[in-house]
């Protein structure tokens, strides 16, 4: 019996201005193989299925256990993490492409720094007085921790932004991940001191009003964040804030 192999088709692009080409690879199958191990195999033996020499594929990765958020890409048309994409669960040939909503760097690598800029804009932090010893933190009940913890599991993979029809240059929408972080910090006893500023940051163009409730975000999120709940809650808070600001003149 011939050894089992796995077929891949990978979209390659040498630089942002270079033309995109598809390359096919036929790799030895191994039990438990994921898309990342296929990339590693190609790096050790950079030859296409038709025997042509090529270069190792450029892609982002780090932890390989779906917690660092690096290796998001489109696999068989779906935005997901390459590390947790097991070959045995995928239809072949496995088609791998970069995310489409972010500036392409090379091959499967894109520039997702927009998310980190968004987090700056909404002040996604607790403004502590300092790191010197000021005693215990605020008391918090398990029920409160259980609201915050799932939101704090966001790995910044940007899959929710990739699949959002409203996340594009025309709207400038911040996307679901950032909104969820606003809820996370507004729920914290001392984080909420910046609540009004965060809500105002989400009230203009590109803010929460751009959301079209397609709900793709919550479906694609690899960490099952309650994204649509966060969007509903923050929408309400933004409206209340607008009303308050209006009355205050």
């Amino acid at each position: 019996m011939a050894d089992r192999t796995v077929l891949f088709e990978i979209k390659r692009q040498a630089s942002p201005d270079a033309p995109a080409v598809w390359e096919k690879f036929e790799l030895p199958w191994r039990p438990g193989m994921n898309v990342i191990s296929a990339m590693m195999e190609i790096a050790a033996n950079p030859v296409t299925a038709d025997g042509r020499e090529t270069t190792p594929v450029t892609y982002d990765s780090n932890c390989l256990e779906e917690i660092c958020g690096s290796c998001a890409m489109r696999i068989n048309g779906k935005a997901r993490m390459a590390c947790s994409s097991l070959v045995d669960n995928l239809e072949q040939p496995i088609k791998v492409e970069p995310l489409t909503k972010f500036p392409l760097v090379r091959d499967l690598q894109v520039d997702r720094s927009v998310l980190f800029e968004n987090l700056k804009a909404v002040k996604a932090w607790v403004p502590i007085d300092g790191t010197y010893d000021l005693g215990s933190g605020p008391r918090m009940f398990p029920q409160e921790q259980e609201v915050r913890y799932p939101l704090s599991n966001c790995i910044s993979c940007t899959c929710c932004m990739e699949v959002c029809p409203q996340f594009n240059e025309a709207t400038g929408f911040v996307g679901a991940a950032t909104i969820a972080q606003v809820k996370l910090f507004n729920e914290h006893p001392s984080g909420k001191v910046l609540k009004e500023e965060r809500l105002r940051a989400l009230s203009g163009d590109g803010g929460i009003q751009e959301c079209g409730y397609a709900q793709n975000c919550v479906e694609v999120c690899p960490k099952q964040l309650p994204l649509t709940d966060a969007i509903s809650d923050i929408s309400r808070d933004v409206l209340l804030q607008k009303a308050k600001d209006f009355l205050r003149g």
């Binding site: 932890c63 947790s84 720094s113 599991n153």
Partner: protein, 592 residues
């Protein structure tokens, strides 16, 4: 006078901790990281962070934490810095709590604590089973705040290549390479802090992230920094073997009551859940009745190897044992361990609520690292180190949940110390060595790109990983260590014939990897030769031919220095600070 400029390399817990302290004190920081700092390897830590807060009425004290840490490390750690860390730990937990880390809570709204290995106290604060992620994010958020206020400049996507040293050997900056444009540049600084993490890649597959190559440590080791206790490598007892890496299965699974066992009958063909309790061999509980499944990692790992390789009791004859949580109710598991159970189910396809997990030891952590003094400074003036990349806090074996606290504490020490050092630094002569170092690095790059050999760097790396895993992990023999060193020397020679299949100057990952590989090879020799020369067994370093700890000869820190000669690094020995706790035999079959 302008505020001193500090460069921090690495944006995990240690690096970010240093950055925050420097920014808070009015210093000026440039933060370099290969990956966006929020994606650093600290994110992988799962189980928790230790501090003797004594919130469970057990009478825990920072002294107990100190004693457990020293004892767990088999007395190899210098005691004064470890004492400082354990005393600072409760305050660090409070600070993290104030930063908004969603730690698990008791019904009264206080921090909850769980058990961990190597202690009999509930001393480990946790946020589900993703504590590292939650801690990293909290520090990342504080750094983002300082960045927004203009106190921190991030250089993400830049890889550190070397330190810039002046004619007197004093650090004056760094050289780094932009991983997108491949631009090579030197950056001036009055002090630099390495917080560049672990060395998992020396072993091919490990629980570490892709960036944990030890390349930065190795680079400055080759520039004259000592590398200490490199032979002490922690192999975590419970990992999930994979094609691309070994995924960690947290010690917290045992902290919450998980039990390790194998069928007593090696040929048992019954479905796992039909094997009755009497026919299960709970070997850790039998062999170590006091600590049970929560013996320190080196002890648990050797026990699993013994069961598999000496007793032939691995599941289905494979190198695997069960880690069983199925007796614990689903709600408790989801609340306290959700994150790691999800990882197991995603990658193995089996639900650990219903069926015991199959696990095996995997390379996890380096206790050794850059030698530093009690101020976290290496022997090169102006170069500091903090976190896993230095050697100071864990001796011969690290206790679970001590790494997060050592990273943060180390960063909190290194930051202010570097700033103090920088304020007293006199100006460099000339350009401080920048032009010369940049030229040296440019030449290395040019040679690599032009090289016309026939060796693929990724394949050389696989061979390195295989030899290191075979000879330099759980059980070590001098014969095998010599074989490993010869193999590394061979790989170093073949490295000269590396051919980059990609010669482009844009986001060229092979190029960056080839540069790391050279450093990995050089650093591997310190691990192997350090192990070869240490003829005793201590903590994670185990030689069946020398089964006892030998304090007379080896209660010493090993210090490797680079020689550039074919014989490899020179290893010297330095006395250990034992002024607080007198060394005593380390055993876990009874209370200590």
């Amino acid at each position: 006078m302008a505020a001193p400029k500090i460069i921090v390399i690495g944006g995990g817990l240690a690096g970010l901790s240093a950055v925050i302290k420097i920014a808070e004190a009015g210093g000026n920081v440039d933060l370099f990281s290969i990956v966006p700092v929020k994606r650093s390897h600290s994110v992988c830590a799962q189980g928790g962070i230790n501090a003797a807060k004594n919130l469970k009425g057990e009478g825990d004290t920072t002294w107990q934490h100190f004693d457990d840490t020293i004892y767990g490390g088999d007395f190899l750690a210098n005691q004064t810095p470890v004492k400082g860390m354990c005393e600072a730990a409760p305050g660090i937990i409070d600070l993290l709590d104030r930063m908004g880390v969603p730690f698990n809570r008791t019904p009264e709204g206080l921090l909850d604590f769980r058990r961990f290995g190597g202690t009999l106290y509930h001393r480990t604060a946790f946020a589900g089973a993703t504590t590292g992620q939650q801690l990293l994010y909290a520090l990342d958020e504080q750094v983002r705040r300082h960045e927004a206020e203009g106190k921190v400049t991030k250089y993400e996507g830049w890889e550190f290549l070397s330190a810039v040293l002046d004619s007197k050997g004093v650090a004056r900056g760094i050289t780094a390479m932009n991983l997108r444009t491949m631009e090579l540049r030197s950056f001036p600084a009055d002090a630099i802090i390495l917080a560049t993490g672990g060395v998992g890649a020396l072993f091919g597959k490990s629980t570490n992230s892709v960036v944990c190559t030890g390349s930065a440590q190795s680079a400055i080791f080759q520039q004259g920094a000592y590398y200490a206790n490199g032979e002490f490598i922690q192999v975590h007892p419970t990992s999930i073997p994979g094609e691309d890496k070994l995924r960690l299965m947290s010690e917290s699974a045992r902290g919450e009551g998980g039990r390790v066992w194998v069928p007593r009958n090696p040929g048992d063909k019954r479905p796992v859940k039909q094997i009755p309790a009497a026919e299960r061999f709970y070997f850790l509980e039998e062999w170590y009745p006091k600590y049970g499944n929560l013996v320190p990692r080196d002890v648990a790992t050797r026990a699993i190897h013994k069961v598999v390789y000496e007793l032939g009791l691995g599941i289905d004859g494979q190198p695997m044992v069960y880690l069983d949580l199925t007796h614990i109710d689903r709600a408790t598991l989801d609340h306290k361990l959700g994150g790691i159970l999800e990882i197991y189910e995603k990658f193995v396809g089996v639900d650990p609520h219903d069926e015991p997990m199959k696990i095996f030891p995997g390379m996890h952590y380096t206790m050794g690292g850059l030698w530093v003094d009690f101020d976290q400074m290496t022997n090169i003036p102006g170069i500091f180190a903090a976190g896993e990349c230095e050697y100071q806090y864990h001796g011969a074996n690290r206790l679970g949940a001590n790494s997060l606290v050592s990273c943060i504490y180390g960063g909190f020490q290194a930051g202010p110390n570097a700033l103090r050092y920088a304020k007293n630094l006199t100006a460099a002569e000339g350009d401080g060595g920048h032009a010369a170092e940049l030229a040296r690095q440019t030449e290395i790059n040019n040679r690599l790109v032009r090289n016309d050999g026939n060796e693929n760097p990724f394949r050389l790396w696989r061979e390195l990983g295989q030899t290191m895993t075979e000879h330099a992990t759980v059980t070590r023999y001098n014969k095998g260590l010599k074989v490993a060193d010869q193999k590394i020397v061979e790989l170093l020679d073949r490295y000269n014939k590396v051919n980059l299949s990609d010669r482009s100057q844009w986001a060229n990952t092979s190029f960056a990897f080839a540069r790391q590989l050279k450093n990995m090879l050089e650093l591997s020799r310190t691990v192997v030769l350090g192990a070869l020369q240490r003829d005793e067994s201590r903590g994670a370093h185990y030689k069946p031919d020398f089964p006892e700890r030998n304090d007379e000869r080896f209660l010493k820190t090993s210090k490797a220095s680079y020689t550039g000669s074919p014989e490899g690094p020179r290893i010297d020995y330095e006395d250990v600070d034992i002024q607080h706790i007198k060394p005593r035999p380390r055993r876990y079959d009874a209370a200590k």
